[in-house]
């Protein structure tokens, strides 16, 4: 049995972490924005908002229905256009983001829907603007759901990076597939799996901790 090349392992770990956290960061803002758009457009009676709501909703449903591995393939031309290559961790970002944002936007919308209607009514009665209602009422009140939502998304995302890795994005998934599986080095696969598990555990524990901390209900 050949010795494990730890330098390779840590290089792959770094790539996985890079993909995970870059995507989480971008998904957080895009998903929150899209979630708010969904929430607000569903509350309005005007036709424009109904159309916006219907379109956003359908796009989200379609994107969520496509299996991730196929989504990557479908997005190859788009990726090539904006990143310039389809190989490497950065090239994986567009597909990862497109895969995660709709999922997170839904979770955000569910969280916003659970905010007590009475609290929003009270804020209106005190003369709050829509912007103030978003920043001072909706987001703070839905914060536990927003945090636990990004935690769930992030955990799912770790799995996606491994999948993306298998088709050229690099990272632990790439290593496990190319080195571990293709060359029959089970050791590599096991260590890569262990690394992924540790990442997932840390994300979950941190997410749970913060959620609990911000939830005063």
């Amino acid at each position: 049995m050949t010795k494990l090349d730890w330098k390779f392992m840590f290089e792959a770990l770094k790539e996985t972490l890079y993909m995970t956290f870059m995507t989480t960061f971008i998904t957080f803002f895009l998903g929150l924005g899209l979630g708010l758009l969904l929430y607000f457009s569903s509350k309005r009676e005007e036709r424009v908002f109904k159309v916006i709501n219907f379109l956003t909703s359908q796009i989200i449903n379609i994107l969520r229905a496509i299996p991730f591995i196929i989504l990557i393939i479908l997005l190859i031309p788009f990726t090539r256009l904006i990143v310039g290559t389809i190989l490497g961790p950065t090239a994986a970002l567009p597909a990862l983001i497109v895969g995660c944002v709709p999922f997170y936007a839904r979770l955000v919308m569910i969280g916003l829907n659970e905010v007590d209607k009475g609290v929003i009514e009270a804020s209106k009665a005190f003369g709050a603007t829509n912007f103030q209602i978003i920043t001072r009422v909706l987001i703070p009140e839905a914060l536990p759901a927003i945090i636990s939502g990004i935690t769930v998304t992030c955990v799912t995302l770790v799995g996606y990076t491994a999948l993306a890795g298998a088709i050229g994005a690099g990272g632990l998934g790439h290593l496990a597939y190319m080195e571990g599986f293709q060359r029959g080095r089970n050791q590599v696969t096991l260590v890569a799996t262990l690394f992924l598990l540790v990442i997932v555990f840390i994300i979950q524990l941190t997410g749970d901790y913060i959620t609990k901390k911000v939830d005063k209900r």
Binding site: D116, G118, V119, E121, A122, S123, K124, A125, F126, G127, A128, T129, Q132, R136, V137, P140, E141, L143, P144, V214, D215, K216, R217
Partner: protein, 333 residues
């Protein structure tokens, strides 16, 4: 202070408020009583335009709210505080921050906010809980915080939406007393909706009875007791005048006490404080047997209800004497 002119609110399939006209004076506590579905909740929400009337006119402090731009409306709303049945506090903010909320929205300076909030928490008696979260408070404390929050911007009007319906009777009394104090101390006009006569008679000066989106009766609280015009009003009054326990109906009373005559006496204000029965016995050659009764204090005076059996010789003179004193006498035959 508040004037509604033929205000109507239609939803797609239902008519919640169906042409309401009313005037609420400055500094008064005005009650709107009605069963659920009567439209009172919609009505009170139209006063600060949380619900937009389908038609009609609405003036608060002589300002036509329906003619305002969204921005002007937000400024006017700061002068109209509101408290709610389910308190509607921000669950992820402390008591202090909840009370500070309307001030932050109005972009008041931080040190002024601090002083004002401290003052308000003292006023409502929850200053020891300033750093607690709403989930750590009792219902009564939550409503006190709600009141403090509603008063933060020094409003001229306070809207109360079933504010005691989620509270036990003892806490209800405390909250009503607090509202009364606020009304007397700051001269704030209070509009209160409720389905409980007990709440209305405790603090309201005037009351409107609402049914099917309309106001069917309006007047002083005491007059609602002495002369309710509609069946609904009578039922609300009965919530209070019903004598608890083993009460006998008029017919059964007559069977049980066949001698002499039975009368039902209704009286208000001064008469409650007079030694009515003993003077009657001294003045006439009769005996008075009190069968059942109740005296109910309201904010416009007390209302008394007595069932008595009169026996003896001067029955008709005695009754005339009672009537002369302004007591409503009803013979039960």
């Amino acid at each position: 202070m508040i004037r509604l002119e033929n205000v109507v609110k239609h939803y797609r399939t239902t008519e919640a408020v169906n042409g309401v006209t009313l005037t609420i004076n400055k500094g008064e506590i005005y009650g709107i009583i009605g069963y659920s579905g009567a439209g009172k909740s919609t009505l009170i929400r139209m006063i600060n335009l949380l619900e937009k009337p389908t038609s009609g006119k609405l003036y608060v402090n002589e300002i036509d709210l329906l003619g305002l731009s969204p921005k002007e409306l937000r400024l006017q709303r700061r002068k109209i505080g509101m408290i709610f049945q389910h308190f509607n506090l921000l669950s992820n903010k402390t008591v202090f921050d909840n009370v500070a909320f309307p001030l932050k929205i109005a972009k008041v300076k931080k040190d002024i906010i601090h002083n004002r909030v401290t003052e308000l928490l003292n006023l409502v008696g929850v200053s020891s809980k300033a750093n607690h979260y709403p989930s750590e408070l009792s219902g009564g404390e939550k409503q006190r915080v709600g009141i403090a929050r509603a008063l933060a911007n020094n409003p001229e009007v306070l809207l109360c939406d079933e504010v005691t319906s989620a509270l036990d009777p003892e806490t209800t009394k405390q909250i009503l007393n607090l509202l009364k104090t606020i009304n007397e101390k700051f001269g704030i006009t209070i509009v209160l909706i409720s389905h409980e006569m007990a709440v209305v008679k405790e603090i309201c000066h005037r009351v409107a009875v609402m049914e099917k989106g309309k106001i069917i009766e309006e007047g002083l609280v005491i007059s609602l007791f002495t002369s309710p015009q509609t069946k609904t009003a009578q039922n609300f009054v009965k919530q209070i005048t019903d004598l608890n326990g083993d009460v006998l109906e008029d017919e059964k009373l007559k069977v049980k006490y066949p001698e002499g005559i039975l009368v039902k006496l209704q009286y208000i204000n001064d008469n409650v404080e007079k030694p009515l029965i003993s003077s009657l016995v001294k003045m006439f050659d009769i005996d008075v047997n009190i069968l059942q009764g109740k005296i109910i204090p309201t904010s416009n005076g007390s209302y008394g209800l007595l069932y008595v059996q009169l026996t003896g010789n001067d029955l008709s003179q005695a009754i005339k004497h009672l009537e002369k004193q302004g007591i409503e006498v009803k013979r039960i035959d």
